[in-house]
Amino acid sequence: MDAHPGFPPALDYLLRLGDNALILGQRLGEWCGHGPVLEQDIALTNVALDLIGQARSWLTYAGELEGQGRDEDQLAFQRDAWDFRNLLLVEQPNGDFAHTIARQFFFDAFHHPLLEQLLHSTDRQVAAIAEKAIKEATYHLRYSSEWMIRLGDGTEESHRRMQTAVDDLWMYTGECCTPDEVDEAAHQSGMGASLTAVRKSWEERVKDILDQATLHRPEDDWMQSGGKQGRHTEHLGYILADMQFLQRAYPGMEW
């Protein structure tokens, strides 16, 4: 049971969508100025900015739906870790470039089919946000797939690092396509996606790209979960400390 009171299902669902984009965007932003080459530095921060833009749309709508007068900024900067609903996968540290790419690929392979489903949401606002986001997600998936293949099927060192990254992150991939009550409720109402369909697409994509990348698919062993319910790894607190510092120190600060 959650120690903390839950959100209504529809709001919870929107927070999941928004928080995935927000936290992964924040993580990728850490690469700014540190990319392996200038071109990739810009590529990663482009993806980061796409995701932050998507987070703004989802959280703005979540705030409207909640009806308590909270806007995107308040939802992003004034919630604590247990109120975040992002997947554990997206809060994992950047590690080396291989870890960043593997994390991105596993997420994109989930995100793209999810948005495809949300295009048909009975909630018109959800469908409209998905329609804008899916063009970006299509490029993200192309980008991360390309790098999985290049590094997996690259040099001995790049292959080794890529396989290590895949192995390290695998236990965080189970959660994305495993529905809980909130996912079920959202799907039943017509607002949300069928995670069964998303899982099928995820499995096919991951198999295809891992094969092309000459990477070994890890066994489905124990999978971590809890991010969607607000039970996070120790990393999220540090991300929030970074991301929320300004609004915590100077509430309502604008510039």
Partner: protein, 94 residues
């Protein structure tokens, strides 16, 4: 230098009907990565609708030391410019 990816020249068509224009260069392992890198580096602010990339080593350039013989002879050939016609006022955009 051998560890660096090859250099590519990037050409962007800013909108349909216009020519591709040289915008700069970047490093990439191959043509496909060069296109993606060009997309990320040079089209972030709606600069283009089409990208060409070509490896820099495939471009042959004229030598600056030949400039005198290549270009100066055109200096005193004003008759090559179509500036000696009287244009009717109705004709615009010429």
């Amino acid at each position: 230098m051998k560890k660096n990816w090859p250099l590519w020249e990037v050409f962007i068509r800013s909108k349909s009907g216009l020519s591709h224009k040289h915008v700069g260069s970047l490093h990439a392992a191959d043509a496909e990565m060069a296109i993606e890198n060009a997309r990320d580096v040079y089209t972030r602010r709606n600069e283009g609708v089409s990208i060409w990339v070509v490896e820099s080593r495939h471009i042959t350039a004229s030598s600056p030391t030949d400039a005198d013989s290549l270009f100066d002879p055109a200096d005193d050939k004003v008759y090559r410019h179509p500036t000696f016609y009287d244009l009717p006022d109705e004709v615009k955009h010429i």
